[in-house]
Subunit: 399 residues, 4 copies
């Protein structure tokens, strides 16, 4: 398919490199940038037909089949509106909006226009995450009780990120959007996010927005989804996820510990990893960064979905839900209490029972815990169903 | 020194094994248990002079120099009171009390009696933690911004833990006491803990107390200390700590990944680790569990402190502060808002400035971020001191 | 490009899945298998135009542009001969031949016919290995002194592997071909492999071929390349590489520890990894196996090379050198001494000095070692250039 | 017990610190050093009664019960001879001798004198290794097929190590002594080491001895024990062990990856690990180095053994066997072929069958491999007992 790339900065280059590698058949044919010079440089680097500083022209170009939005956050809405009006398929980088209201506007645009719309939430598409989501949905670790997603690094590359008006916030809007959607994928997208508790602070940088935040999102089925985001981390890019289920656990490390360790005594080494601070000592490069970050699988799903006339894994609706959760997080950081997630447009399950497994051991007792001791004895902790009294009981090894 | 061991259960055995190994010179001479039979069995196993079911007699025995309390939580206060009255040195297992009020009573007992009192907070004494605390206090990672301590396993061994009245709570009282004190050691014990936000739930077990909780403790200097505790974790005993500082980071794993990995195809393997659920597949044993959990270093500090007439690293006062923080956590889990830490007896710094480093770049700008790009160019994100406008600037490689 | 796939077994399926994924533009159009039924099943599964049991017809089909050989080892030579005769581009799986003689025949076939020939040595194309080779060739770790490549698992899937006549050997021919070529890429392909020492044994399986072997390949510049291969490993698929250089080290783990850890209490989990033995306990899945094993990057290089009219990274000549080294390994395992690598056709550097760095410290001494002690003192170990006497010398911290 | 420490260098200090910590009851009472000044400094640092430069006086001092030899290799024999003559218990650091002949002399000295003699082979006493040896001897991983022990760092601290006459060799005598004895403990000390193949080279340092070596030791039961030793490693101290058994595997990492990871941006950090080269970037400290290296457990075993009138785990006889294996390694590095291990005094099993497990599947076939495919089908590779022909067979999931 023929793509118009909107934006020519860091993320646009990451997208373009992924799209044009590995003998993929989809091609960017033109690029829009706010400055003509940057557009032309980008066009040369990726061998495009041309670059332009006219966004509308780029979108409306007759060869443009798909519009990829890789612009600063405050320009997403405008770009989506234009693409929808032009009837072009549109893929938008994360976060969808700066607020749920803005995201809802974009959602309405594409739904009214009937165009395909994909939410470029790459970290839900990493090969590790895809396999984890599949394992979880197959029941490999039982019911999900808690998810934790952590994204931390020393701060973003471009000026606009650090400007709260343009970006919509600090580390929360930049990074927690990933964490929140990872949590939704693992807990189940049909389960309603109910309320959010969030702490945030500006601990290091001379900015108005938060550079560190921790939040908890509570779901209707009792599951908790935690995010840890920071622009103050020292040591590289820290991307880790964890899941606790009733029957198992998952630990992912997508950047700093992926089975690649290099010690460099001197200072001869070049570019190692997107956000590594260091070029000597023990380094932890990533074999193929774009792949580890999910770009190839994300774009494959998007283009396949267009051709197969189906929804992609990540939609504008998902982007809207994420923004609603982040809205609650920002509020909670101010109010210092749990804040409800306001979703005017909820498309999942209405009520979800917080179904606990039955723990009945026999007529008299519930089973609190069962453990096999080193000597083979089985130790039971039991609770009397009526009196609530808790006892322990040992069953010999050979009985 | 001659020790009276109070308690003959799981933790008493762990203590006794550590005390009587590695040619240490201190000896347990008698043991108290609530049942005579258990006391006698323990005495035989550790070659003690005798066992008794009379607590007061054990404490008052003329040979007893030091009393080690390894009893269920609801019996700590009584044992401390008796030991103080007898003028014996006393070491008490964690948590000190079930509440700050109970801990304060014990603190008062020992201080009025003028006896030595040590708080057996083993996880602050692990060799990894001792070295981390030393590195942090030497400034190796700058100012501490955040600590995270995680303790999770499938639940405790004995019945009384599961009874809220006897233990004082669930996973919070059992496990978060460790996490909170680890945070204090890393952030600085003189820094006042100000308020706590906590989520807790009973997600899996048929009990009244919480089996999963996450909390944030905010300190007067702006640092945040996070605890993650659970009795629902599947996969062994998860003991991990993390620290983020302005100049560095620390990651510790004290049980599941310590450089010992064993794959066992069959089912022939014996006891592997305190709380491992599994005996085949990939196992992660710990070389010397007592050592990894801090027992040898803890007891060495305690007995050395007695001989050197100094305070140990962990005192009853520390135990009291921990209980005060946990009190606030329990309250916050109910009220769903941040709750103040109530400390009638605060002995640290009264006011702590949330001193941020100066970020001044030159007369006009503050430095938001400095980054060296792969091509050698230095990229600066700067904020105008007056207007607050954020710009970016690139400095060529050879300038 | 249009591909004829020769073979429909395990490796052919792995290749086909990689080729037809991620929106790649090259397509398999037909498949050859020794049995018509298998060919047809494969054709259905990958939506090919048809399957056939006539190898020559598959190769000569007018639409066939590239022939991919995914056949048992004893059929490589015949397939290459037919493809060369037909003037088709040919890509052959590893090992190229069962012996250097057979490999040389294939090399001659394609060179005489003037067709493009690529050696499908996937493990040299893993993203981690590509980045390592680049770092090494940029001098990041100085001169390479030693490489170690380890490939071990519980044994191959298909019957013919276990038959020494058909495969050419056991674990050495199956696995050491990878290790040897990894070593060549890291040490430098122009450096001549000189001699080989190898131990092998049949420790577990009731077969004639070796199921475990360790070998050392010595290069003309003094570097040593070690292989460790086994069909007896318990615990999954063990793919690890290490490099020691004068200025640094590299450690790679491509399968069992890639930042993906999952604990599964029960038995509900499906297919986890190519050669995992286990479906419960701690599992270490790989996010995207084909990617981690190098298939996408390998095929991209091959097809790009055809279009760009250049040699691929891995050529039939490389396959021939590998076979010559393996020939020497088999001989050494018998003779129990170092055996020379016989290369009639050597295209690299003729003589390579074993250039050591100068260690001169001053006129009198060579520097043996320099170390900064914890107290800041610099400790030197020096060797008198004339007498050879070794002394130590300490230089205070502030001098 | 009262100890005379012979030597006051790096290893003597490491020993003394371990002996005098953790409230251990044994005490060093005096120290011998070749220079009086060093002896006195050491005595002050460890609060000993005195230091002396008279070795015989130190040994013969009436208070001396145990002599600990922490001297350069060329002085071991003399010190052992004097201690034996004085009828004192003697503990000698590794390697026992520079050659088997020298070790045999020492063995004869102590056996004739009837004194207790312990071989201070610390790396066999690390908590991880003790637990591994126990697991292996309990059959947890079946029959041991292969062990690998790796010791590599940038080279030793003191001048005499680098002098082949004084030390007896280079990296082999310094480091392979550990590896070889680790292999013996895992394979079984009663199994006879038969022959050795070794490669060595002086790749980096301007010395006569080898600074890098790799060796294979073959045992009478077919097991292989590999050592990898180097004084050229960059990145810290690399201590890793691996074991492959018929029923499982073990991987140990005793220094660089023990669950302690610290990132330090600046240069403020002090002493981190015995042989770390670096003080910024990602560092991997060890919590308690002496413990991780086995000193406390080693000395406990030694003194307990004296009191219990039993042999310690590591004896002078073990040291002698190790030297005999190293003798063969040095020879093999010269002769470039397998060299027999010459043991005049062999006290283990005379003949050991290389007993392979029976692989009989039924009357007609031996079982080569059994595998459960992802679809539940069981795949068998079978070998006809008479014809030797190998076939494969699939058994459906529900049969």
């Amino acid at each position: 398919m023929k793509i118009a790339m909107l934006g020519a900065g860091f993320i646009a280059r990451f997208y373009a490199t992924a799209l044009h590698s590995q003998r993929r058949k989809d091609r960017i044919h033109l690029v829009y940038s706010r400055t003509q010079q940057t557009a032309e440089q980008f066009a040369r680097d990726y061998q495009l037909s041309h670059g332009t500083d006219d966004m509308e022209a780029a979108i409306n170009h007759p060869d443009t089949e798909v519009v990829v939005i890789a612009l600063p956050n405050h320009l997403h809405a405008k770009a989506v509106e234009l693409a929808a009006r032009a009837g072009k398929h549109v893929l938008c980088t994360k976060p969808l909006g700066r607020t749920a209201k803005e995201a809802k506007f974009m959602l309405d645009c594409v739904e009214k226009a009937g165009v395909f719309a994909g939410y470029l939430e790459d970290l839900c598409y990493t090969p590790k995450m895809l396999k984890s989501i599949e394992a979880v949905s197959n029941g490999a670790i039982g019911k999900v009780l808690w998810t934790k997603s952590r994204e931390a690094h020393p701060g973003p590359h471009s000026d606009w990120f650090w400007n709260k008006e343009l970006s919509g916030g600090g580390a929360i809007i930049d990074l927690a959007c990933h964490c929140v959607e990872i949590g939704r994928n693992l807990i189940g997208k049909t389960i309603r996010p109910v309320e959010v508790m969030c702490w945030s602070d500006t601990q290091v940088h001379p900015i108005d927005a938060e550079d560190h935040a921790i939040g908890l999102v509570k779901y209707a089925n009792g599951a908790i989804s935690q995010f840890e985001v920071s622009w103050t981390f020292r040591g590289g890019m820290d991307l880790r996820d964890e899941v606790m289920g009733t029957e198992g656990s998952i630990w992912l490390n997508s950047f700093l510990r992926t089975g690649f360790e290099m010690y460099v005594a001197g200072n001869k080494q070049g570019y190692v990893a997107e956000k590594a601070e260091q070029h000597a000592g023990w380094l932890f490069p990533v074999g193929d960064e774009a792949h580890e970050l999910g770009y190839p699988h994300m774009f494959s799903d998007m283009f396949d979905a267009i051709e197969e006339n189906r929804a992609p894994m990540e939609t504008f609706y998902d982007g809207y839900v994420v923004n609603a959760i982040l809205d609650a997080a920002f509020l909670s950081a101010q109010s210092k209490r749990w804040e409800p997630v306001l979703l005017d447009d909820w498309r999942g399950e209405e009520a979800t029972a917080t179904d606990k497994a039955s723990n009945s051991y026999n007529e008299q007792y519930d089973l609190v815990k069962k453990e096999i001791l080193p000597n083979g004895v089985t130790k039971l902790i039991l609770k009397d169903k009526k009196s609530g009294i808790i006892i322990q009981k040992e069953i010999p090894a050979n009985s």
